[in-house]
Amino acid sequence: MTKVKRYFKDNLGIIAALAFMILFLYVFPRTHTTFLTKTNIFNVLRQSSTNLMLACGMTMVIILGGIDLSVGSIIAMSGVLGAAAVVWHGMPEIVGILIAIMSGVIFGLLNGLVIAKTQIPPFIVTLASMNIAKGIAYVYSGGKPIRCMTDAWKFLGAGYVAGIPTPVITMTIVFIVSVLFLNRTRIGRHIYAVGGNDTAAKFSGISTSKVKFVVFSFSGLMAGLAGITIASRLYSGTCTSGDGAEMDAIAAVVVGGTSMSGGSGKLGGTLIGVLIIGILNNGLNLMGVNSDWQYIIKGAVILLAVYTDFLRSRKKAG
């Protein structure tokens, strides 16, 4: 019980923001009838699912003191490679899906390898791999979507299990695994240690390169998984999908209270961060706000959420 209490206390600011948004959308006349329906709730969760996957990886990367800019491009690349395997090379869907996920893992491994073994900052390394992954997606697909309409392909993104959208189930599993990994393993603690003080971690006998390698690989895995989920939902592998997805993930993590300077942060906060961004997108659509304006409103809300959190933590520090 105390754990739940503390969770609410730690995330009071953003939980209040979330509650406010839900209440607002429930009361607002244009969205009153649609917002809290089962269809719309599933809609929000489905739209948030890939962001949560990315954000789980991104939370660890940011706690580690790094950043992973490549995840958006990996979404495009993995979707294209997976779809191409099925449509162009006649492979079974499951192989295409595995290829898509593996391509994400491989990029994650490469990111991790370079970051662990060299002194090049993660920002630069993943900026480079972001471009490479994007390039692969364009070169391989020739810039056109690769359409794939089979039921097996559609299952992961557009299907249902027992009436619940598949991506929502995937998202739930991913989140639980991430929480266990970060909070209940030694390497999870080591992520906080390396992000908090790299040099001290070395003196503690923590293999900092191993930790970095694992975390960036995990982030790649998440991107591959998100990639195939999106490609499945869109019925196609498209080289423009996932554009800017890395920014949504970073925004969710930061709104969730994880510090960009590394060493601290919680997945529980990230979950709420993802929901805030998801509901914001959904709510603005339901309210019929022009999509050009949505960017501006989203930016303002992110800034506001982080600023309230900053005020709260400053008050706590005395």
Partner: protein, 515 residues
């Protein structure tokens, strides 16, 4: 009244929950070096920040030359001739000395900053003190002592009359300290008043005229340094008599448990460890003395498996062991509490519990189960053992005082149950009371059979605590001295022999064979 350069009267300042200063008085004459003494948290920094315009006092008045002044911001302090040299140096490393001195008020020529004039003026300022520092050099390339000198020159270039130095000697070697004192004496002759903050009592007699002691935010008293015994000052600081400052029951000729032979970092450039051989006996405290940069920390880092490619053999209880990583070292019962806890030790934003248990996670995290109760048991055990003062286990370690942070650090490595504990500068930046406690704990640990290696640049600490002292110079061991024969002179002699070690083997009495 007006014979004081600076007078601070009845200064009070509080923060939420704490009264940092309560009615503190302070007087500085022109041409004097005035020490400000007190334990961590006594209010020294707060007083200085009030003087520097960083904090504004709620009560009290400040007079300069007998005239009341209002110091409401940093610029007002500067306009009143007050300059503060902070403990953490605040220079831009990749700019030149001249650029740093003139930062924010660069002399302008026709086409922007007149670099040539700036370098020339900076150089003439530096030369006034005969520092041998090149104004066009990057600050990055200077030693810490030289950076400090630059900071002083910068302060003086603002025509400062009141100079505050916050622990300027905490990270520089004795020889450089001498040079710093020389400059201070020089400044004082020109009528500047210096406020000097330091934890090193031995420096008071050498350079200070008067001393003011603070305790728990209150003013305790002001004394003439020359006529006040050190014990009295310590009693004023701590508020009680410290009967035994150093606690040590010396041991001699116990069995040898650790032997390190021909330790070498095998580096071609910047070689710091050169064929070092030493041994440690059961229950011993072995001191490692030497100037900063002599290679003491680097030697221990080789032993601890932190230096890839280093050579040498380590024998424990007669059996040779292979240590490649810190994990190996801990497995064989060696722990190292690093020198610079801010950089090499603390996970600042994390809790006391996190910091206490990071080495022993395997004791409570297994198979996706975290035994929180065990985690807190371990944390509490070492809080008790080290007598650490912390409001809770969840307190962020960065909010503790220096002494308590150091206790958390030592506790962390004690949790690995070492047979050999290597302490690198265990009392740096630690206040007097906590120091005495750390000495007591060290003595207690060795009584239980643990052996300790203590690297320290504070000679009194080495002389009083160590059973044997190895002295290093330039990457080599230049001698070993037993506690009966140890003296400041003997150590300094060995610490400055500069590379003759290999030829004239300086061996004194038992145990201390040098290669």
């Amino acid at each position: 009244m007006s014979n004081y350069l600076l007078e601070m009267k009845n200064i009070s300042k509080s923060f939420p929950g704490v009264k940092a200063l309560q009615g503190v008085n302070f007087q500085l004459k022109s041409g004097e070096i005035h020490a400000l003494l007190g334990e961590n948290g006594a209010g020294k920094s707060t007083l200085i920040k009030v003087l520097g315009g960083i904090y504004i006092a709620e009560e009290g008045e400040i007079f300069i030359d007998g005239k009341p002044v209002a110091i409401n911001n940093v610029n007002a302090a500067r306009d009143n001739g007050i300059s503060i040299i902070h403990q953490e140096l605040v220079q831009v490393p990749h700019m030149t000395v001249a650029e740093n001195i003139f930062l924010g008020r660069e002399p302008m020529g026709k086409f922007g900053v007149d670099t040539r004039r700036m370098v020339k003026e900076a150089q003439s300022m530096l030369d006034r003190f005969d520092l041998g520092i090149d104004a066009a050099a990057e600050v990055y390339d200077l030693s810490i002592a030289q950076q400090q000198m630059v900071e002083i020159v910068k302060a003086i270039s603002f025509n400062c009359r009141i100079l505050v130095m916050d622990e300027p000697t905490s990270s520089i070697s004795d020889r450089e300290v001498e040079q710093l004192f020389e400059i201070m004496r020089n400044l004082v002759k020109q009528g500047v008043g210096i406020i000097y903050i330091s934890h090193k009592m031995s420096e008071l007699n050498e350079v200070c005229d008067r001393v003011t002691v603070l305790r728990d935010g209150t003013y305790v008293g002001t004394r003439e340094v020359a006529t006040t015994p050190r014990d009295e000052l310590i009693a004023m600081m701590v508020g009680r008599e410290l009967s035994n400052y150093y606690t040590r029951d010396h041991v001699k000729d116990t069995e040898v448990v650790f032997k390190c032979e021909h330790i070498d970092d095998a580096k071609k450039h910047h070689k710091r460890v050169n064929d070092v051989t030493f041994e440690v006996r059961k229950g011993e405290i072995v001191g490692f003395a030497g100037l900063v940069g002599a290679g003491r920390s680097e030697t221990m880092q080789c032993v601890f498996g932190l230096t890839p490619g280093s050579k040498g053999t380590v024998t424990i209880d007669g059996r040779p062991v292979n240590i490649k990583t810190p994990v190996d070292a801990m497995k064989y019962g060696i722990s190292l509490v690093p020198e610079n806890r801010k950089v090499e030790g603390l996970y600042h934003v994390q809790s006391v519990a996190f910091n206490s248990t990071i080495e022993v996670l395997h004791e409570f995290i297994n198979n996706l189960v975290v035994n929180t109760r065990r985690e807190h048991e371990i944390t509490q055990e070492f809080i008790d053992k080290m007598n650490t003062k912390t409001p809770s286990h969840e307190q962020a370690v960065t909010n503790l005082s220096g002494g308590n942070q150091q206790k958390v650090m030592i506790g962390r490595w004690l949790a690995t149950k070492p047979k050999l504990l290597i302490l690198d500068e265990p009392t740096r930046g630690v206040d007097v009371g906590a120091k005495a406690e750390i000495y007591e704990i060290m003595n207690e640990l060795t009584k239980q059979g643990m052996s300790i290696i203590m690297i320290s640049s504070e000679l009194p600490e080495i002389i009083n605590m160590a059973d044997r002292v190895y002295v290093m110079c330039d990457g080599r061991i230049t001698g070993c001295i037993d506690y009966e024969d140890v003296s400041q002179e003997a150590i300094m002699h060995l610490a400055t022999v500069e590379g003759q070690a290999q030829d004239n083997t300086v061996t004194q009495k038992s145990g201390g064979k040098t290669a």
